[in-house]
Symmetry: C2
C-alpha cells in the first residue's frame, strides 16, 4: 500500500521552488516533487526517463516550452509559472494539447509599478549617479552636480495599460503628470488619451514607460523611429522584458545624446537594475501562496486562480 | 547726472546670482549689484566699507545673518533667500530692525516631495545598491541580489505636514500607503491620524519622512529614542536639513542593524544625495523669477511674494 506521501499529486519542479524556506512544509504536505533543476543529463532525456506521468509543473520565465519539450511530457495538463510573461512558451502547442497555464497574475503589479516610478525619479533626479558622486568623495571637491529635471508636469506615455500600466498611471496622477497610453485597443473606461501607434505616443511625450508583454508584436517595439520621435530629452523606463527595446540602437542614441535617459551600463544618464522590478519579500510570499493554490486547483479540477487566457 | 543704470536699486549679492545665465540680462536691467561672493577681505570689513547704503540682499542658506553681520548693514530692509530654511538667520535681530525676509516659498515643494518618494523607493527596493551591483559586474557571478521590500501598504509617518509634507502625503496615497503625521499642531482639515510626539509617530510607523524646518525645537528631533521606537526594519528619509537627525546615533544604529535604512556613507542600506532635493532645471528657473519679483516688490514698497512670517 502506498504511504500518504506517495499518494500526493506529483509536481515537476523546473526552477527551485519553494525558495522561501518557510513555505517548504506547506508545499511538501500537498505535493510530491520531482526536481529537474540541477540535472546530470540533458533535460529531454530526463523528461523522457522520469516524467512520463507528470501532469503539472512549476517553472520560471527562462525555461523554454517548445514543441520538443512538450513532446517529452505526454501527460502534462498544467504549467504554473512563477512569472507573468509567456514569451518562452509555445502557446499554439499548449492549446493543441489542452494544457492550462497559470502565471503570477497581478501579485507583482504594485511592486513593478513602484519600481517604475522609482527608476523614473532616479533618472530624472540623478539619484544613483548622485549617490556614486557623493560616495566617491567628489562632492566636497567638485561642488556642482548637474541639475536634474522635474517630474511634476511631465508628459508620460505608457505602453500597455494592463494591470501594471494602470498602477503606474494611478501613481503618476499624484505627481501631476500628464498621462497618455497605447495598447492593442483603446480602453473605453480609461480617462487618458489613447494613441494607436507608438511613434505618435513617443512624439507627444517626454517619457515612455514600457509595461507591455513581450510577444511577436512587441519585440523591439521601441525601435529607432520611436526613440527619434521621443527626442533627445526623452526618457525610457522599461520594466518589461529587455527585448521590448532595440537596445543596440538605444545605446547608440544614448552615447550620442539623442535620447536623455534609460537603463544601461557605463553611462551616467542610465540606471541599472538586476531584474528586481517584481521582487520584494511581500510579493514573493504572495507568489508562493498563488503557485500552491494554482496547483491545488488543477488537481481538484477547478479553474486556476491566475489562469492565462490565450488563443 | 546719473546714468539710467546708476539709478537702478542696489542689491548686495552674497551668493552667486543669477546662476542661470539666461536670467543675467533680466536681473541687470532691474538692479545694480554689489558682489560679496568672492571677497579679498573679511566679510565684516567689506560690509562696513562698501555696503552702508545697501537696502536689499540676496543670499543662500549658508550665510549666517548674526547680530554682528546685521550691525554692519544699517540700511538693510530686505533679505531675499534662494532657499526655504531660515536656520542661519537671527530672526529676533531682524524683527527688531524691521527687516522683511522672502524665501524660496513653495517653488521647491513638488521637487522635494518627488525626491522623498524617489529616495524611499530607492532604499526599499535597493535601486542604488542594485545599480552598483550590476555596474560592478557582479550580477552574472552572484545571481542573488537581496530581496527588497514593498512600498504599497507600508505605514509612513510624516514629520511636519507643511507644503512639502502635504505633497509627499498626496503621492503616498497613490501608493496605497497608510499615512500619519506630527506637527506643531493638529491640522483640522487633514484626514490623516495625528500624533502629538515623534516617538509615538515612530512607534506606529515603518517609515519616517522628515520634511520639517530646522529650528531650536527640531534640532536632533530624530534622536536615539525615536530611532529605537521606529525599530530595526525602520526607514528614515530626510529631505530637510541634516541636523534634524542625530546622525552619529543613526550611523551607530545602522551599522548595528537596529534601523533598516537611511542616507549615509559606506553602507549598502543607505542612499546618499548631494543636497539636490530642491534642484531641477524647472524649479531653478522658478526660483530666479521669484527672487526678482521679491526684490521688485520690496523696492516698490509692496509685500514680498514669498514673505516669511516670523515672530
Amino acid at each position: 500500500m502506498a504511504t500518504e506521501a506517495e499518494q500526493l499529486p506529483l509536481v515537476l519542479i523546473l526552477r527551485p521552488f519553494p525558495y522561501i524556506p518557510s513555505f517548504q512544509e506547506k508545499f511538501s504536505n500537498r505535493f510530491r516533487t520531482l526536481k529537474g533543476t540541477d540535472l546530470s543529463m540533458p533535460v529531454n532525456e530526463f523528461l523522457i526517463k522520469e516524467c512520463q506521468s507528470v501532469k503539472a509543473l512549476v517553472c520560471g520565465a527562462k525555461f523554454a516550452h517548445t514543441k520538443d519539450i512538450l513532446d517529452c511530457l505526454p501527460s502534462l495538463g498544467c504549467i504554473v509559472l512563477n512569472c507573468v510573461g509567456l514569451d518562452n512558451i509555445d502557446l499554439d502547442e499548449c492549446k493543441k494539447r489542452g494544457i492550462v497555464i497559470g502565471n503570477a497574475g497581478t501579485v507583482y503589479s504594485e511592486d513593478v509599478a513602484d519600481l517604475a516610478i522609482g527608476l523614473l525619479i532616479d533618472v530624472l533626479r540623478r539619484i544613483s549617479s548622485g549617490h556614486q558622486f557623493v560616495r566617491s568623495g567628489l562632492w566636497p571637491i567638485n561642488k556642482e552636480f548637474p541639475l536634474g529635471s522635474k517630474l511634476s508636469g511631465k508628459r508620460v506615455g505608457i505602453l500597455g495599460l494592463g494591470s501594471i500600466g494602470s498602477e503606474v498611471a494611478k501613481r503618476l496622477v499624484a505627481f501631476n503628470c500628464i498621462i497618455s497610453y497605447t495598447s492593442r485597443n483603446k480602453k473605453p473606461s480609461v480617462p487618458f488619451p489613447y494613441y494607436s501607434n507608438v511613434v505618435d505616443l513617443a512624439s507627444n511625450n517626454d517619457i515612455l514607460i514600457l509595461t507591455c508583454d513581450l510577444n511577436k508584436e512587441t519585440f523591439h517595439i521601441v525601435n529607432k523611429d520611436v526613440m527619434s520621435a521621443l527626442g533627445k530629452k526623452g526618457i525610457i523606463i522599461n520594466v518589461g522584458r529587455g527585448p521590448l527595446v532595440d537596445e543596440k540602437e538605444m545605446v547608440r542614441l544614448l552615447v550620442q545624446g539623442k535620447i536623455g535617459g534609460a537603463e544601461l551600463f557605463e553611462l551616467d544618464n542610465v540606471v541599472l537594475a538586476a531584474h528586481i522590478a517584481w521582487k520584494t519579500v511581500e510579493s514573493t510570499s504572495a507568489l508562493h501562496e498563488l503557485v500552491i493554490s494554482n496547483l491545488e486547483a488543477f488537481f481538484s479540477n477547478k479553474p486556476l486562480l491566475s489562469l492565462v487566457k490565450y488563443d
